[in-house]
Every structure is written in structure tokens, then in C-alpha cells.
């Protein structure tokens, strides 16, 4: 099985940028074959975590082991096992699409013939064959993201680090990327994913870590986290002070969240709890919807805007 073997393990992992603490003494484990999502507002420390995993940034203190190798001393071995799709576009603009992949293979000591074979396979899968011989600046944003994804897989990594892999993709390209993630999960590739799209995390991740201000504030399976923090359903009504007493009386344990001129009520009761109430208290502009990971995220990290 191998699923009890921690492939990535952090203990007291900390990263300082000067005086600023980006990652603050965090501990986590990722097991073989898992897809783990790192979620958090801008500046929470997600990307810093990912960058420490492929030795791009050295930790300030604490331990981080990848496949039993230390990021402080065994970077070369770690980097040969890991594939990285970074957030920003760092494709090589001096080369064509194909040459981007084959030159990248060279950095991994992959032979020329094997490089051409792998590059062609990736181009085919990511539907970039037609763009094989054009330079990078002739690609759309979505094609660039796909090529970055393809490049991350070129060394057939055991661990794949995806830092906001679908930002800026159209729905077709996003689903293509999701398919590939599922495909890789079947092959027991361990995946770390950071994203701002909660639907993406809910669909792909076996487990998520919510990070805020450099600390892990919650972790677990996406659907369990939803049930635990925001129940099954949420009631949304226009905010009106006159309605409050009746709502508070009906849902004494409910969580009341005001969002501008709307009011959201979360409970830990099962499905159907709001329908009964609405029968006796008809209200205008009312919605009942299933709760989701975004509700959890906003509840735990607050609604204030974050600056980078």
C-alpha cells in the first residue's frame, strides 16, 4: 500500500523574510498518493511553503523532508523527484514550445531521444501539438498554463507541486487540468495544490490545509470540513432588523453573518431545516443553498481583503 508512509513531512517549519514571518512553525504530513490542497488568502504563506518543498527557498528554521530527504542538504535528489508548476509564467521566451520541453529535459539528464518522445506525448495530451514550433509569446494565457503543466510532468515526478495551476484558465482548459490531476492520482503521484478556487480544492483534494498568517488554522477532508463548520445548508435573506428576532428565536445556535444588505444563517442542523421555518415565516428574496468550502474558508479566514 505505502499509504501510511509520509512522503512530505514538516516539523516546526518556519520562513522569515527579514523580520516578517511568512511561515510560522507549521507541522504537516502528506502521504503517498494524496492530493493535498493548501488554501489561504493572499500572503498567507502557501507559495512560500511550496517553494521550500522544491528547495527554491531555504527554511529559516524547522525541518522539512521530502521522500525522506532533507531540503537543507539533499536538494539535488529532491528536485529530481519533484515536478513544479509555478504560479508565474517562467517559460523560456527565447525558445519554441517544443524546445521549452526538450531543454528542460536536458536539465534532468534525460537523453535527447527520450526528451523528444516525452515532449511529444505531453504536447499531445495538453493539445498543444499545433503550437509545437511557435515561440512562447505567440501562446494565449491558457496555452502557457498548459505548457507549464506539461513541463512540470516532463521528469515523471513522484511529487507534483501545483501553485495556482488554473488561475486564468477558461473552463475547458481547467477541466483538462483537473482530468490530468485525477489521472496522476490514479498513478499514485502525490500532489500539492494551492488554489484560490474552492470548487477546485473540493473536487480534487483528499485533504486540505487552510493557512492564514503563516499558520495552519484547520485541516481535513473538504466535505467533512464543510459539515463541521457550516452545516449542510445556508439560508440567505435580505437584511432587515425586523426579521432578526424571529430568526434568532428559530435558530438559537445559528451563525449569523451579515454581508452588506444580505444576511446568511448557518446551522448545524440537517437538510430541510430552513424549509419548515419559511412555511410559517414567508420572506422576500430568500435563498436556501447547499453550503460549500468557500463558506468554510470565509468563516475561518474572515471577509476582510488581504493585500500581498
Amino acid at each position: 500500500m505505502g499509504s501510511t508512509e509520509a512522503l512530505i513531512e514538516a516539523k516546526g517549519l518556519t520562513k522569515l523574510y527579514g523580520e516578517v514571518i511568512a511561515v510560522d512553525h507549521i507541522d504537516f504530513k502528506v502521504y503517498k498518493g494524496e492530493c493535498v490542497g493548501f488554501l489561504g488568502p493572499n500572503g498567507a504563506g502557501k507559495t512560500t511553503c511550496v517553494r521550500m518543498m522544491y528547495c527554491f527557498l531555504p527554511p529559516s528554521s524547522g525541518e522539512l523532508q521530502i521522500a525522506g530527504l532533507s531540503v537543507n542538504t539533499q536538494c539535488r535528489q529532491i528536485k529530481s523527484l519533484v515536478g513544479v508548476a509555478p504560479q508565474e509564467d517562467n517559460l523560456d521566451p527565447d525558445f519554441t514550445v517544443m524546445k521549452n520541453l526538450t531543454v528542460y529535459c536536458r536539465y534532468f539528464d534525460i537523453s535527447k531521444a527520450e526528451a523528444a518522445k516525452r515532449a511529444n506525448e505531453q504536447l499531445k495530451f495538453f493539445q498543444l501539438e499545433e503550437k509545437r514550433d511557435v515561440t512562447i509569446d505567440a501562446l494565449s494565457g491558457g496555452m502557457k498554463r498548459r505548457l507549464i503543466f506539461a513541463r512540470a510532468l516532463i521528469n515523471q515526478p513522484q511529487i507534483l507541486l501545483l501553485d495556482e495551476p488554473t488561475t486564468g484558465l477558461d473552463p475547458q482548459a481547467r477541466h483538462l487540468a483537473w482530468d490530468e490531476v485525477r489521472n496522476l492520482k490514479k498513478k499514485q503521484v502525490t500532489i500539492i495544490l494551492t488554489t484560490h478556487y474552492m470548487d477546485e480544492a473540493a473536487v480534487l483534494c483528499d485533504r486540505i490545509l487552510i493557512i492564514d498568517k503563516g499558520k495552519i488554522i484547520e485541516e481535513g477532508n473538504p466535505s467533512e470540513l464543510v459539515k463541521k463548520h457550516v452545516g449542510e445548508e445556508v439560508l440567505e435573506v435580505d437584511y432587515d432588523e425586523r426579521l432578526l428576532p424571529a430568526l434568532k428565536e428559530a435558530f438559537p445556535d445559528g451563525d449569523f453573518e451579515r454581508l452588506g444588505d444580505r444576511l446568511q444563517i448557518f446551522t448545524d442542523k440537517p437538510h430541510g431545516v430552513f424549509e419548515g421555518f419559511l412555511k410559517d415565516h414567508p420572506m422576500p428574496n430568500v435563498t436556501i443553498r447547499t453550503t460549500n468550502l468557500e463558506d468554510v474558508f470565509l468563516k475561518l479566514t474572515g471577509r476582510g481583503l488581504r493585500e500581498e
Partner: protein, 282 residues
């Protein structure tokens, strides 16, 4: 707090751990160069021809001789030295900065088994290669003039200008890379270009003999300006004539310049790699 701090700031003179992967970085730049050879090659061919025309034939027409040599013979080795300086300095400032800062090419490479140190060392070797290419072009132009118009090359050692270009280029490139490590933006390179390269271009015994400078300035040029050393050696192996200055004989000057280049290259090669590592990993 000493633990984390120690790990964060690598020593300035730590000996970098390098492997054959340095050549993969070099090869990347070489591949780009060969792809764009028409824009890279012809301008560098034109420049020495212009220098020879303007300074040699134009200005040289008014100068009967410098240190007993025709003016064109005097400046030819200096043109090789200037090609070495410009070739590597611009490669390891503007071009490296573009790859590092705008293209994020270094970020992409260090996600592979190639290390930061190897990326920087590969850039330095590539800068030295650019210097060699440029200097060889100038040498070829001088050779053609020498065979067809008037003799400019007077020793059989002139082919040593090619290894001189590589090691001189490594020296200028390593110095340049220290500026790149410190550069907050690309305009910053105006400082070294105008305050370091331009003075050397004129004052290192290039277009007039060093002995025309005041004694103190001669001492400064010999003690701290790298181009002086490269010009000295280029003269020794191309025209075969190194002007004695400050009471030092030609062989002694050649020896000083050789030792100077080796020492300064080692110093800045190591320093620039450590400074770049610091910049790229914090």
C-alpha cells in the same frame, strides 16, 4: 537566533559546489545564440571595422607614430581587449538580468536538479564565451587587415588572444555579475557602464600610451583597472610591444597583469556566485 540566521546568509566567499550541470546552463544560452546568430554576429563584426576605420585610418592619419609604432598597430590589441570587456560585461549585466528578472529563466532552471550556483557559473562561462566570440571576430578583422593592407600582428603568439579572451571575459563577467546581484532594476547598470566601463575604455592605455597620464593615475590604472591588464597582455601577444611604465620592465608588467587577472577572476567568480545565491534564495 544564530541558527536560522546562519542558514539564511551564506558566506560571501564560500567555495561554490559545481558539477557538469554548469554546462547545461551554458548550453541553453549557446542554443539561443545560435538561433539568433544573424543579429548577434554581424553587429559585432561591424564594430571593430568601424574602430579601425575611425581611429586607425581617420585619426591615425594625423599621427605619425605612437611609441615607434604606426597608430593602427598601437590600437589593434586594445580593440581586442575592449571586445573582451564589452562582450562579457554586457552579457553578465543586461542579458543576465533580463533572464533573471524579466524572463524568470533562473527560477525555472533551479526547479530542476541544477543548483543556483550552477546557474550563475553557467552564466559566467557563457559571458566568457561571448567575450571569446567577440574578441575572435576582432582578431580575424585585424588578421585580414594585417594580410592585405598593412601588418598589425607581429608575434606568432597572437592566437593566445583567444584563451586571453576567455579568462579575461570570465574576469569582467564575474565583476559584472556582482553588479547584477545588487541591481534593483535594469537602469542601475548605467552606473557601471558610465562610471566603470567608459573610463576604462579611454584611460587604460587603449588609445594613447599610459605614460601620458600623470604618475599617480598610471599607478591607479595598473593597480585597480582590469582593462589595463588585458590591454597589456594583448599588446604582448599581438604587437609584441608593452610600454614600460613606473620603472617596471615589459616582462614584469606582463607578469603583474597575468597574476592580477588570475587573482581577481578567482575572487569575483566566487564572490559573484555567493552574492547571486543570496539574492535568489532570500
Amino acid at each position: 537566533m544564530t541558527g536560522p540566521n546562519l542558514r539564511k546568509s551564506p558566506a560571501r566567499f564560500a567555495i561554490p559546489k559545481l558539477s557538469y550541470r554548469v554546462w547545461k546552463v551554458w548550453r541553453r544560452n549557446f542554443d539561443v545564440f545560435t538561433k539568433t546568430i544573424t543579429v548577434n554576429f554581424f553587429p559585432s563584426l561591424l564594430e571593430p571595422i568601424l574602430y579601425l576605420l575611425a581611429f586607425g585610418l581617420g585619426l591615425g592619419g594625423y599621427i605619425t607614430s605612437v611609441l615607434g609604432q604606426p597608430y593602427l598597430v598601437f590600437i589593434s590589441p586594445a580593440l581586442v581587449a575592449i571586445a573582451i570587456m564589452n562582450g562579457s560585461f554586457f552579457e553578465c549585466t543586461f542579458a543576465s538580468f533580463v533572464r533573471m528578472y524579466f524572463q524568470k529563466t533562473f527560477d525555472a532552471i533551479v526547479a530542476t536538479p541544477v543548483s543556483v550556483e550552477e546557474v550563475v557559473a553557467g552564466e559566467l562561462l557563457w559571458g566568457a564565451t561571448r567575450a571569446t566570440i567577440n574578441a575572435t571576430i576582432v582578431l580575424a578583422v585585424i588578421g585580414v587587415v594585417s594580410l592585405t593592407i598593412r601588418p598589425l600582428i607581429f608575434t606568432p603568439l597572437f592566437l593566445l588572444a583567444i584563451p586571453l579572451a576567455f579568462f579575461g571575459g570570465l574576469m569582467f563577467g564575474s565583476i559584472a555579475m556582482c553588479f547584477t546581484a545588487a541591481a534593483p532594476n535594469i537602469d542601475f547598470f548605467n552606473f557601471p557602464s558610465f562610471l566603470f566601463l567608459t573610463p576604462m575604455f579611454f584611460l587604460c592605455g587603449t588609445f594613447f600610451p599610459l605614460s601620458k597620464l600623470p604618475q599617480g593615475a598610471q599607478g591607479v590604472a595598473l593597480a585597480i583597472l582590469p582593462l589595463t591588464q588585458v590591454v597589456n597582455i594583448a599588446r604582448g601577444i599581438i604587437s609584441g610591444h608593452v610600454e614600460p611604465i613606473l620603472g617596471l620592465s615589459s616582462p614584469i608588467l606582463l607578469l603583474i597583469s597575468l597574476v592580477w587577472i588570475i587573482g581577481v577572476t578567482l575572487f569575483f567568480f566566487v564572490l559573484s556566485i555567493n552574492l547571486m545565491k543570496k539574492r535568489l534564495t532570500s
